[in-house]
Amino acid sequence: MTQSERLDATFAALADPTRRAILARLASGDATVTELCEPFDMSQPAISKHLKVLEHAGLISRSQDAQRRPRRLEGKPLVEATEWMERYRSQWEANFRRLDAVLKQLTSSRKTTRRPNSLGRPR
């Protein structure tokens, strides 16, 4: 998969609340399919379907333990998705810091035209 396709798969996998709940559960430790079914009012095949999507996105893997086959959370795709967010965030942070400065200037220049004790309300 290309990076763009991986992100695609990651976000598609994260778009479902059950799958996010499964990831949250796995963040606190590996779990078998049976254990993962417990908190959900869902059949094991339904849960397995969600697990397949998560596995395809590389968000989870199966441990070596052949008997129980517990699922494990894989951090890398999440880190990649987070980096994407961080870049988006840092660009907007720069814009919004400039906006802060514009607003500061506006607030102080408009204050001089207001009566004292006006509590900042428009007249």
Partner: protein, 163 residues
């Protein structure tokens, strides 16, 4: 004042990106900064470019057009129509990009608060999940872009989508 100016970014649905940020100003000023052709170019930049054209017809059905320019870079432009204008609380506009046929994005900006602080929420709904992910993934440093000029547009767009 003890409040956070962190940006909270979420993906509320698979076609959407939403962003929330608190500003230290009453909302009529914040609304003005988002809609005034004098103020918007003072803060809304694209990577390596400043806004050089800012035309705004602020009424329902009114059009706008923004162009960003930078030394040695291709200009990028976006345009659209205001669908809802409720000063100082709400702004809905469509957005499309010159030289990039990605379809129309609908951007809803909400301004909340009745004191000296204003919470701004910007939500952009893309035509499809594919377009959203394409736009956002292209912002990554090693994104596999084949067309340089389009990458330029996409990167600039990353910066400017939801204002």
């Amino acid at each position: 004042m003890s409040h956070s100016t962190d940006i909270i970014i979420t993906t509320p649905s698979d076609r959407e990106v939403a962003m929330t940020r608190v500003f230290e100003a009453p909302r009529r000023l914040v609304f003005e900064a988002f809609t005034s052709p004098d103020l918007l170019p003072q803060w809304l930049e694209a990577p390596g470019r400043v806004m050089t054209i800012c035309e705004i017809d602020l009424r329902v059905g009114g059009a706008y057009r923004f162009v960003w320019s930078g030394p040695g870079k291709k200009d990028v432009g976006s345009y659209g129509v205001y669908r809802d204008v409720v000063p100082p609380a709400r702004l809905v506009r469509t957005e499309a990009w010159e030289d990039w046929d990605a379809g129309e994005v609908v951007v809803t900006t909400e301004f909340a608060g009745d004191g000296p602080l204003t919470t701004v929420t910007v939500a952009a709904v893309f035509p499809s999940r594919e377009i959203r992910d394409q736009v956002l993934a292209a912002g990554m440093k090693s994104g596999a872009a084949t067309n340089y000029s389009r990458l330029e547009v996409v990167l600039a767009r990353l910066q400017t989508v939801p204002a």
